[in-house]
Structures are given as C-alpha cells and as structure tokens.
C-alpha cells in the first residue's frame, strides 16, 4: 500500500487530469490524499456571492473526490486566481508541513515546465510543491514544526501532470474507470457550468457555430469534451481513455555511483 499525495489549486484539477488514476489507485488499495489549495471562490457563473461559491464548490468537490475514492481531502482555503501575488514562502511552508505529516511515498502536482499554462495558480503551485519536496528534508527549514513531533521528510517519487503533456510523459490507460471519472467531473456542477460557459464564450468570439452549446445539456457538453480531451485513440496503444504523468526520476538510481 502506497500513500499518494496530490496537490492542486482548483477543485476540478485533480478530477479532470487524474480522476481515472486516482480511482485505479484507490481500487488497488493505495491511500490517496488530496490537497486542494484554493476555495474556488470565483469559479462559478451566476452565483451572486463568493461565499456561496465557496460553499457550493467545496460540497461538490467532496462529492467528486468520494467518487474517485480519495482517502482524505485537505482544503487550504486560499483565494482562487491570485497566485501571481501570493505569499510563496507561506504556501511552501504549509506544503512542507503536510509532507511531513502525511509522509507520502509519491507526491504529484502540476508540472513546473508545463507549456501553454495560462494559469498562475497552476505554475506557482508547481514551484511551491517542487521546492517543498526537498526543503521538507532540511532540519533548519521550519524546525518549529518538529516541536509537534514531526520530522524532516524526503519525498522519493515526484510526479507531474500538465495541461499540455510532453511526448516523454507516461501514458496510462484509464478506459476501465472513465465512466466513473466522468461522473466525478460532472459532480463539479458549478465549476463545469463555468467551464462550459468559457468554451462557449470563446467559440462565440471566434465566430464559430455555437449551436452545440445551445442544443445540449451541460452534462452532455462536458462529457463529450472530456472524452475527446482524454482520448488515447491517436497514440500508441489506441486506448479509449488515457491520463498522462511525467516521472523525471523514472529509473532514477541514486546509489548507482556508490555500488
């Protein structure tokens, strides 16, 4: 049994990018800890207050994470879409503490070098987690945490996902759990409403035919989009549904020079 910690800024990041793998890992008996950094207070459309958006998005996130089989969910409650101006070291400190508490065998977050990444929350999360991976093992970094019984901890396996996966990212067949993943994604009703709206708005501005959006329910639009986005039909293996992860330490033999 492995402990896997996934750190992501927004409620739907994990469900969309790794929902299938989380379900598979959970089915295999691994414990998956989800660290949701923001409260998604702006990720909605038509909800009049941020407070209401926070409450609804949290409830829907917990429902989605229950479907993919997460063992525990930690909500850090940062304001969404503000990471370009965040207290970086404050965020890193929180992640260091979580690493020392959870002691995961594997830690996963957004890729530091992700291409076409328009979202600073994603970038800064990637940087903070990547730096926490090794600073968590320094005995002079946040020694105040040791008073509570925590100890320096070093993450062995560090994996990354991205909006645009590179060719060297691993390909994982999630066909057997794709229906479950879709169900989980659709649980994020509020975020998905905003997601579909964004797609429609952009299509309109581009002068494209938007009848698809007008003629279908939200769930149908999202399901079609996600099945298309995670189709593996055009790559080796020709899987119906895939997810991609980068493992820069794959085959890493740290001790080879001493053997």
């Amino acid at each position: 049994m492995k402990k896997i910690m996934i750190t992501f800024p927004h409620a739907d990041d994990v469900t969309i990018n790794l929902g299938g793998l989380v379900r598979q890992w959970s089915n295999a008996g691994h414990e998956v800890y989800l660290v949701r950094i923001t409260d998604d207070d702006a990720d909605c459309a038509g909800i009049p207050t941020r407070e209401e958006a926070i409450r609804i998005n949290r409830e829907e996130a917990e429902q989605a994470y229950s479907i993919i089989g997460a063992k525990k969910v930690i909500h850090l409650g940062y304001t969404s879409d503000t990471f370009g101006g965040i207290d970086f070291l404050g965020l890193r400190e929180k992640i260091i503490k979580l690493l020392r508490q959870i002691k995961p065998n594997t830690s996963i977050t957004f890729a530091m070098d992700g291409r076409e990444e328009e979202n600073m929350d994603h970038r800064i999360t990637a940087y903070a987690v990547a730096e926490a991976h090794w600073t968590a093992s320094f005995d002079l970094h946040h020694p105040e945490q040791f008073k509570g019984g925590l100890k320096p901890f070093c993450v062995g396996e560090r994996l990354y996902f991205a909006r645009v996966p590179e060719d060297n990212y691993g390909i994982f067949d999630v066909t057997d759990v794709m229906d479950t993943k879709i169900k989980a994604i659709l649980s994020h009703k509020t975020v998905m409403k905003n997601y579909a709206l964004q797609l429609k708005m952009r299509a309109q501005v581009l002068g494209l035919d938007t009848s698809f959006f007008n003629n279908n329910e939200q769930d149908v639009i999202i399901e079609k989009y996600m099945r298309k986005r995670f189709s593996g039909k055009d790559i080796p293996g020709s899987y119906e549904a895939i997810e991609r992860l980068h493992n820069p330490s794959a085959g890493l033999d740290l001790l080879k020079y001493f053997k």
């Binding site: 207290d87 970086f88 070291l89 890193r92 065998n105 530091m112 070098d113 940087y127 903070a128 990547a130 730096e131 991976h133 090794w134 600073t135 093992s137 320094f138 005995d139 002079l140 970094h141 320096p152 070093c154 993450v155 062995g156 396996e157 820069p248 330490s249 890493l252 033999d253 740290l254 001790l255 080879k256 020079y257 001493f258 053997k259």
Partner: protein, 259 residues
C-alpha cells in the same frame, strides 16, 4: 584577458556545475569574479544554528574558490531557499550595480530555460540576472548608480549552465583539471554532507538500501558522484570529462551589422 562574472546562487553551484570551466579560464589568464548570492544558512545538516551554518559555509566557499583560482568573491548574503518570495527588483538592481561595476566581458549564470528545476533560488536568480544583463545598459534604470562613477554597461557574452543540460552547445574539456575541481568541491564539507544526506534520504524513500554509502567518506563520495557526472557529460563528445554550457548567441546582431 577577459573579465568573467559567475553567478552562483549557492556556494556549491559554481564548483559543481562549472568548477572545471573556471579553472580553465583562470589558466588562460582570464579574471573570474564569483558572485555568491545566498549565505547557505540552511544548507547543512546537524549544525544547530543558522549563524554557525553561515560562517562555516562562507569559510568553506572561500577555500573552494581559492582552489579554482577565482580573483574576487562577492557574498551578497541573501537568505537561502527564500527566492520564491524575494524582492525581485531589488535583487535585479544589485545585479545591475555589479555588472556596471565589474564590466564583465562574459557572464555565466543558471539557465533561465532550465528544465526540472526544483529550486526557486536558481529560477529567480536566473530571471533577475538575465534581465539585469540588458537593463544595466539603460540610462534611466537606476541612474543613481551614475553618481558613484558607474556608467550604463551592456554584457556582450552571456553563458548559462543548467541542472539538465539538454540545450547545451558549448562543451568544455575538463579532463586535465578534474582533480582540482574535486579538490574544490571537497572544501565545501558542510554542503556536501547535506547533499549526501539528501541522496540517502531520497533513496531510502524510494525503497532502496542506502547502506552502500556507509563505506565511503564524504570526500570519496564527492569523487565518485561528480566524476561520474563529468564522465557522462564528456562521453558523447569523446572526452573523458566535460562540463556543458549554453550560449544563446547574439541573435541577429552579427548578421545585421554586416548588412
């Protein structure tokens, strides 16, 4: 004789990544100034206070740079592992001042396009330095420097080193100076002790038996690890040992002048 300015975020970045190149340049009668940005106050293990770590790492860095033949060392004294929250413009201003004061023919810094870079000190320092390379030539950027007798200055040759050197286009044969490079790295005992503790912790976290490291001293591990790294770098170029750098060139400048 060229004036060469090498930026090293941490004490050992220069010795590990480009120590051989520095030795070669000094042998060619070039004058090398090392700018050590942080004080490495956390880069140690088993040292009880940051003050002690600062003093030890500074003394060991100076010893190491003496072995390389460095003419001058500038210790900027920034707190280590905090650059995710650093005052970027202040850091850039300090680099601009140093560039105007040293007037280097060549600079060498971490690559701003470096992949798999988990260290924000490396990233942010490379961004600040890269921006200082050209802003130092603007007469409206920090004109207060000019009251001290400094002038706008533009760095002609801008080289980079990286954790993952896949974009390198300069190969430096360091076969004849490899032992001096190791001697220099071996001076940095506190930092090296931490590096090997990190390797041990991560290997153990990956489920490997790290006891193979027990039979070696720190000096022996330095030799084994960095000899292997230099050999790997040299292998595809038919060299026994090498270091790799990237020169982005001058773009259209040379051709434009010819026209």
């Amino acid at each position: 004789m060229k004036k060469i300015m090498v930026i090293t975020p941490h004490a050992d970045d220069v010795t590990i990544s480009v120590g051989g190149a520095v030795i070669k340049w000094v042998e060619e009668d070039h004058e090398v100034t090392v700018v050590r940005v942080t004080n490495d106050d956390a880069d140690c293990i088993g040292i009880s206070t940051r003050e002690e770590a600062v003093a030890i790492n500074k003394a060991e860095a100076e010893e190491a740079y003496k072995v390389l033949g460095v003419s001058r060392t500038i210790h900027m004294g920034y707190v280590s592992d905090t650059f995710g929250g650093v005052d970027f413009l202040e850091l850039r201003e300090k680099f601009i001042w140093l560039i105007r004061e040293i007037k280097p023919d060549r600079t060498l810094c971490f690559d701003l396009d470096g992949r798999e870079e988990e260290n924000m000190d490396h990233r942010v320092i490379s961004y600040a330095m890269a921006e200082a390379l050209w802003t130092s030539s603007f007469d409206l950027h920090h004109p207060e420097h000019f009251k001290e007798g400094l002038e706008p200055f533009c760095v002609p040759e801008r080289l980079y080193y990286a954790r993952v050197s896949d974009k390198a286009n300069i190969v430096i044969d360091i076969s004849d100076v490899i032992d001096r490079k190791f001697k220099s790295i071996q001076c940095q005992k506190a930092v090296m002790k931490n590096i090997f503790a990190q390797i041990r912790m991560r290997a153990e976290a990956l489920g490997e038996d790290a006891s193979v490291m027990d039979k070696y001293s720190i000096d022996e591990m330095v030799d084994k690890l960095f000899r292997a790294a230099a050999a790997e770098a040299g292998k595809k170029f038919g060299l026994q040992y090498a270091e790799l750098l990237r020169d982005p060139g001058t773009g259209l400048l040379r051709d434009f002048i010819k026209v």
